[in-house]
C-alpha cells in the first residue's frame, strides 16, 4: 500500500523526540504513547508483544481505558517504539503529559479513599445504633458504650471523608459565594457536635449515623460527577495531543529535523509528505502537487497547485510530497484563527448555568431560613434553648441534599454510559442538558451529511469489464478519484509499472497497449461531463461519474429530526447547484451555499440572537468556529481534530443516526433529572415540618435519607434499559 509514501511523515531515527521521554533515577526511560483504535484483548496482546520485542524494552503496559501505552526501556529511541506500534497497525502519537494530569488522578484517588472510609463507617455505625433503636429497654451503660463506640468511629471518619465538602465550602466562603457545600458541611459538623453533646449528657438521641451516612451518600454523587468530568477532560487531552503534530523542517545544514508544529517560524522550509496535512500557510517551492481542500472548503475534488502557489494550513497533500516555505507562524494560520474563534465561543458557552447549580441557588437560602425560623419558633413558643437548637439542627440535617446531590450525576452518568455504548462520546457533563434544549439543527454538507469523498455513480452503465481494468490501474494510486474506482471494484490485482503524472492521470503499458486513467485531456476525451476517464490504446475513452453522495442514513436522520419538531438547516462552502441538489435529496428546505467559515459563525450568531438554540453537526475545519458558537455541537468520527475538539459530542463509527439517539436520551435524561428534583422536593416537604416540630428521631432521619437517595438512583437507572426510547 502507501507505506512507502507515508514513511516520510513518520519521525525518522534521527529526529529528536527526547522531550517526550522521562528518565527515572535508576536510569531507565519511560515514554508514553497515545494509541488510537485499541479496543480488545487482541490489541493488547499484539501491541504489548510487538513493542516488548524491541531490544532494550523492559516493560510495556497498555491501558485500555485511556488508550495510553507506557513503555519503560533502557535508552530505546522513541521513534522506534512509535514506528513499531504503527507497523502493527495502530495510530500512535507521543503523549505530552500535562501537569494537570496527575492532579486529576490524585483527586480521583482521594475521593475513592473518602468513599471507602465513609462507607465502612456508615455500615459499622448503623449496626451499632440500630441496636439502640430496637432495644429501648437497653441498660443505660450499654447505650453509653454504643454511643461512645459510634462516636469514636463516626467523628474521625466524617471529618476525614468530609474533606471534599469542607474545602469546597471554605473556598465558597472565602470567595463570598454560596454553594451547596456550605449547608452540607454545616449539617455534618453540627450533627457531630450535637451528637457528642447528647452522648456526653446521657441524651436519648445521637446523629452519628446521620453524619456519616450524609457524607457517604453525597460522596457517591461527587465521585460520579468527578468520573464524568474526568472522562470529558481525558477526551480533550487526547485531542490536544493529536493537535501537537510534528512537522519536518530543513535545518541550516540541510538535514531534516522533526519539530512540533508550534515551533515553525515564517521562512522555515518544511517537507510535507503525501497524505499529511499542511501545518502552516506557505508557498510551494519545488514542484506542483494536488491538494485535498475538503476539510477547509467542503469541495471534494482535489485542486492542482503549482510552484509559487500559496497554500493554506489544514489542506492535505494528496499528490507528490512537496517542500514549502512557511509564510506564517502557526499562531497566524487559518487553523489558529479558528482555534481562537473556537475559544471565544467556548467562553460564551461557559456562562451556561447547569441545572444542579440552578437548583442549589434556590435551595441554600430556603434551607437556612427554614432552620432559622424553626429556632425562632421554638424560642417564641417558650422551649429551652437546647431544644430549640436541637430542632433547628434537625431541620438542617434532614434537608441535607443527599437526593439532590445524587439526582443529576446519577442520571448523567447513566445517560453518557448508554450513549457511549451506542457510539456517542459525550465530552462534557452539561452537554446533555444543553442538547435537550435545542430547537434547530444545522448540518454541514460535505463529510457530515455526505460521505465526504467521491463515489462511483455510473457503475451499472459501464461496458462490462471496464471497471475491473480501470481498477487495476487505480489501485496503484492514492488519488481520491482513483481510490473511489478501486473501492467500487473491490480487492483485486494491481497493474505493473503504473506511472503517475500529477494533475493529469495514471498510465500503464506501452505502445498500442497503453492504458490511461485520468482527466479528460489526459485521455483525449471531448466531453466534460465526467470526472474521470479510462482509455485503452486508440479505443474511445469511457467516462466515470464520480460524486460525493449522502451517507446512507442521512435522509432518515433528517426526517426523524423534523418529526421531533426541530428545524433543520444546511450550511455549506460548496457551490449552490451542488448544495441545492443535496438539500432536495435529503429533504432540507433551508440551506446556504458558498459561505466561508466566518459566515457560518455569523449565521450561528444571528440564530442565537433570535433566541434559537442550535445543535451544529459538522466535521471540517471550516465548521469549528460555528460549532463553538452553537448551543451544543456534535462531530462525526471522521471529523478533523479541531472540530472534534470544538464539539461537545463525538460519534464513533460511520453512522449519523446516533444524533437522534443522543437527542432522545438527552430529552429523557432531562425529564428524569426534573423528576428526581421533584422527588427530592417532595421528600423535603414532608420531612421539614416534622423536623421543625421536633418529631424527627435519628431513625426517621436515616430512613428518609437513604430511602430518597435510593429512589433517585433507581429512577436514574430507568434510562439504562436496553429499549430504544
Amino acid at each position: 500500500m502507501g507505506t512507502v509514501n507515508l514513511s516520510l511523515s513518520q519521525p525518522s531515527m534521527r529526529d529528536d523526540l527526547s522531550r517526550y521521554m522521562r528518565r527515572a533515577e535508576n536510569g531507565s526511560d519511560s515514554f508514553e504513547v497515545s494509541v488510537k483504535g485499541a479496543r480488545c484483548a487482541n490489541c493488547i496482546a499484539k501491541i504489548e508483544k510487538g513493542v516488548a520485542a524491541i531490544p532494550g524494552v523492559e516493560n510495556v503496559r497498555l491501558n485500555l481505558s485511556t488508550g495510553k501505552l507506557l513503555v519503560v526501556s533502557q535508552g530505546v529511541a522513541p521513534q522506534k517504539i512509535l514506528q513499531r506500534v504503527q507497523d502493527i497497525g495502530y495510530e500512535a502519537q507521543p503523549f505530552e503529559a500535562a501537569d494537570t494530569l496527575n492532579a486529576d488522578e490524585v483527586e480521583g484517588q482521594f475521593l475513592l479513599r473518602c468513599l471507602a472510609v465513609s462507607g465502612f463507617a456508615t455500615v459499622f455505625v448503623m449496626g451499632l445504633v440500630e441496636g439502640i433503636w430496637y432495644g429501648p429497654d437497653m441498660a443505660d451503660s450499654t447505650r453509653q458504650l454504643f454511643f461512645g463506640l459510634a462516636g469514636a468511629v463516626a467523628v474521625p471518619a466524617s471529618l476525614y471523608a468530609g474533606q471534599p465538602f469542607f474545602r469546597s465550602a471554605w473556598r465558597g466562603l472565602v470567595a463570598r459565594s454560596v454553594n451547596m457545600d456550605i449547608p452540607i458541611s454545616l449539617a455534618v459538623l453540627l450533627a457531630l457536635g450535637l451528637s457528642i453533646y447528647q452522648a456526653g449528657s446521657h441524651g436519648a438521641h445521637t446523629y452519628f449515623d446521620a453524619a456519616v451516612m450524609l457524607v457517604f451518600l453525597l460522596l457517591i454523587g461527587r465521585y460520579l460527577d468527578f468520573r464524568l468530568r474526568d472522562r470529558a477532560r481525558g477526551a480533550a487531552r487526547h485531542l490536544l495531543t493529536l493537535q501537537s503534530l510534528l512537522v519536518r523542517r530543513r535545518t541550516a545544514a540541510g538535514d531534516m529535523e522533526t519539530v512540533a508544529a508550534k515551533e515553525v517560524a515564517p521562512g522555515d522550509q518544511l517537507l510535507v509528505a503525501t497524505g499529511d496535512r499542511i501545518p502552516v500557510n506557505g508557498v510551494i517551492e519545488d514542484h506542483g502537487t494536488e491538494l485535498d481542500l475538503s476539510l477547509v472548503t467542503g469541495e471534494i475534488l482535489p485542486q492542482r497547485v503549482d510552484v509559487g502557489s500559496p497554500v493554506q494550513a489544514g489542506t492535505i497533500v494528496i499528490g507528490q510530497a512537496v517542500a514549502l516555505r512557511a509564510t506564517a507562524a502557526v499562531e497566524n494560520s487559518l487553523v489558529a484563527d479558528l482555534a481562537r474563534l473556537l475559544e471565544a465561543g467556548q467562553q460564551s458557552r461557559s456562562t451556561y448555568v447547569r441545572l444542579a447549580d440552578r437548583a442549589a441557588a434556590l435551595y441554600v437560602p430556603v434551607v437556612f431560613s427554614l432552620s432559622f425560623f424553626a429556632l425562632i419558633g421554638w424560642l417564641v413558643a417558650g422551649a429551652p434553648l437546647s431544644q430549640a437548637v436541637t430542632n433547628a439542627i434537625a431541620v438542617l440535617i434532614i434537608t441535607c441534599p443527599c437526593a439532590l446531590g445524587l439526582a443529576v450525576p446519577a442520571v448523567q452518568i447513566v445517560a453518557t454510559e448508554r450513549l457511549f455504548k451506542r457510539g456517542v462520546f459525550v465530552k462534557s457533563g452539561d452537554a446533555l442538558e444543553r442538547l435537550a434544549e435545542i430547537d434547530t439543527v444545522i448540518f454541514d454538507k460535505t463529510g457530515t451529511l455526505t460521505e465526504g469523498m467521491p463515489v462511483l455513480l455510473n457503475a451499472q452503465s459501464l461496458p462490462p469489464g471496464i471497471l475491473e481494468r480501470a481498477a487495476r490501474i487505480a489501485r496503484a494510486s492514492r488519488h481520491p478519484l482513483a481510490r473511489a474506482i478501486a473501492a467500487a471494484a473491490g480487492d483485486g490485482p494491481v497493474a505493473a509499472d503504473v506511472r503517475e503524472t500529477a494533475g493529469a492521470g495514471l498510465e500503464t503499458g506501452t505502445g498500442h497497449d497503453v492504458e490511461r486513467l485520468g482527466s479528460a485531456s489526459w485521455c483525449d476525451a471531448l466531453e466534460r461531463d465526467y470526472q474521470l476517464w479510462y482509455r485503452r490504446g486508440m479505443e474511445p475513452p469511457i467516462g466515470f461519474h464520480l460524486q460525493d453522495r449522502l451517507r446512507p442514513d442521512s435522509v432518515a436522520l433528517v426526517r426523524s429530526l423534523a418529526s421531533r419538531g426541530l428545524k433543520v438547516e444546511m450550511l455549506s462552502g460548496d457551490n449552490a447547484d451542488n448544495v441545492r441538489a443535496m438539500a432536495q435529496e435529503v429533504g432540507i428546505a433551508s440551506w446556504f451555499a458558498g459561505i466561508t467559515p466566518q459566515q457560518k459563525a455569523v449565521r450561528l450568531q444571528v440564530l442565537r440572537e433570535q433566541g434559537s438554540r442550535v445543535l451544529m453537526v459538522g466535521d471540517g475545519i471550516n465548521d469549528a468556529a460555528a460549532m463553538a458558537l452553537a448551543h451544543v455541537s456534535i462531530a462525526p468520527g471522521t471529523a478533523t481534530d479541531i472540530s472534534q475538539r470544538a464539539s461537545d459530542m463525538v460519534l464513533r463509527g460511520n453512522a449519523l443516526s446516533p444524533v437522534v439517539e443522543a437527542f432522545d436520551v438527552a430529552r429523557k435524561a432531562r425529564r428524569l433529572v426534573l423528576v428526581n428534583f421533584a422527588l427530592a422536593a417532595a421528600y423535603n416537604l414532608t420531612a421539614i415540618p416534622l423536623a421543625a416540630m421536633g418529631y424527627v428521631t435519628p431513625l426517621i432521619a436515616a430512613a428518609t435519607m437513604a430511602g430518597s437517595s435510593l429512589l433517585v438512583v433507581l429512577n436514574a437507572l430507568r434510562l439504562a434499559g436496553g429499549r430504544s426510547p
Partner: protein
C-alpha cells in the same frame, strides 16, 4: 456482656480489614484500567 464485647470487637476488626484491603487495592492501581483488566483475562500468557 463479654460476648457482646467480643462481637463488636471482631466486627470492627473485620470491617477495618476490608477497608484496608480496598485501600491497598486502590494504592496498587488495580482500579486504573478496568476495561483492560476485563480484556486481559482472555489472554494466554506464554
Amino acid at each position: 456482656m463479654n460476648g457482646m464485647a467480643l462481637i463488636i470487637a471482631s466486627a470492627l476488626l473485620v470491617g477495618l480489614g476490608a477497608l484496608a484491603l480496598l485501600l491497598w487495592a486502590l494504592r496498587s492501581k488495580q482500579y486504573e484500567d478496568l476495561d483492560g483488566a476485563a480484556a486481559r483475562i482472555l489472554l494466554d500468557d506464554d
